[in-house]
């Protein structure tokens, strides 16, 4: 999975897993510092996921809080044989499903007309490093990808985000979504192609 900072790698999968399990055990004993460490470790990937799923940063921030509260409440049911990150994203995924169900939006279809105004589609992101003219060009490409991604149906977008932005393996995504690995792969490839088509159409 993509790291909290987005760049630095985790020490290793098993070390990270042991670390997570130890933090969960401490949090279950009432150690708030341990849960704070869990939040600090996963807030970035979770916000990235929820941001791309909602398309609105403020809503994504609220949802991040809600998901962590749900995680805290569900800690007693966490089983160390599962990977904590996949378990957490399963909760986040179910949260989004509940949200869409309540909003009666089963999936955002390609046919749906969307407001292309800055407020509705642009996500506030920190600035990258500043090389001069190329920076503007890159920013434009990224903005186009973000916009195109919003036009992808929510169920496909979710798999795409988990794979390419959160960098989960296909097996982990299959565990999060309860789908066969082959189906996950096919849908991710299908979304790649859909995104490519949308970008070509918008250029």
């Amino acid at each position: 999975m993509k790291t909290p900072s987005g760049n630095k790698p985790f020490p290793s999968d098993s070390v990270s897993r042991d670390e997570d399990n130890a933090l969960v055990r401490r949090a279950l004993k009432g150690d708030r510092k341990a849960f704070e460490m869990i939040i600090l470790k996963y807030q970035q990937p979770l916000l990235n996921y929820l941001g791309r799923m909602t398309g609105e940063r403020e809503m994504a921030l609220d949802f991040t809080q809600e998901v962590f509260l749900k995680v805290y409440a569900s800690l007693p049911s966490f089983q160390p044989r599962f990977k904590f990150s996949t378990w957490l994203f399963k909760i986040a995924s179910n949260f989004m499903i509940d949200f869409w169900r309540k909003k009666k939006i089963s999936a955002i279809s390609l046919d749906r007309t969307r407001d292309d105004g800055e407020n509705s589609t642009s996500l506030q992101v920190p600035d990258a490093e500043p090389p001069v003219a190329r920076r503007y060009e890159l920013a434009q490409i990224k903005k186009r990808i973000e916009r195109a991604l919003e036009r992808v149906p929510a169920d496909l977008r979710e798999l795409f985000v988990l794979r390419h932005l959160n960098e989960f393996s296909y097996e982990e995504i299959a565990e999060i979504k309860g789908l066969p690995v082959g189906t996950v792969k096919n849908r991710v490839f299908q979304t790649n192609e859909m995104l490519r088509g949308l970008l070509e159409g918008s250029s």
Binding site: N48, L69, N94, P126, E146, F189, N192, R196
Partner: protein
């Protein structure tokens, strides 16, 4: 080798092809300009997607979340605190009673002792009655299960064995689904 399909190109990009297939793809890409162009196009897209920036996390997010979590009441020494508070309340209450009524301390302790035993006696009576009711309930349940068994046996005589087996199978499937649902709810109880 045939031209590469998009899923093959993505697998190739992710090093997901097995070594022999990857070698064949290498060779094909060196010879086929169409596939090479398709490959470059998809590689550029994947590079651009990988370069999408993180959303900015506000520095106080963790603090906000922790502030919404109620303090843990079941701490390790919670029982000790409760015990000390109870004991202190007893002594303070007793002292106030003695001062206000003018009763002697011995008299207060005798009264307290009598009240405690009376409360214990009443509690045990309630407990015994509850135990009797539980035994009665269990007895009724066992009889009910026995009668159900007899009923099923008679039902089995009346219908053909295949139909009986089908009914039993259906019941087992429904029971398994019910148990699986319960398990999912309790084990993966993250879904609200």
């Amino acid at each position: 080798m045939n031209c590469l399909r998009p899923p093959d190109i993505y697998l190739y990009l992710e090093n997901g092809l097995d070594p022999s297939a990857a070698r064949e793809a290498d060779e094909h890409l060196a010879l086929c300009p169409g596939c090479r162009s398709a490959f470059e196009e998809r590689r550029a897209l994947m590079d651009a997607v990988a370069g999408l920036p993180d959303l900015e996390v506000p520095p106080d997010l963790a603090g906000k979340i922790l502030a919404r979590i109620p303090p843990d009441r079941s701490s390790r020494f919670g029982w000790l605190v409760a015990f000390i508070i109870g004991l202190s309340s007893f002594f303070v209450g007793g002292l106030a009673y003695v001062i206000l009524t003018g009763q002697s301390l011995t008299g207060f302790l005798i009264d307290a002792n009598r009240s405690t035993w009376s409360a214990l006696r009443d509690t045990s009576m309630v407990f015994i009655k509850f135990a009797k009711l539980t035994v009665l309930g269990l007895d009724l349940l066992i009889r009910f299960i026995g009668e159900m068994g007899k009923g099923l046996a008679r039902f089995g005589v009346l219908i053909r064995p295949e139909v009986y087996a089908a009914c039993l199978l259906l019941f087992l499937v429904l029971a398994a689904l019910f148990v699986a649902g319960l398990r999912r709810m309790f084990l993966h109880g993250e879904k609200s």
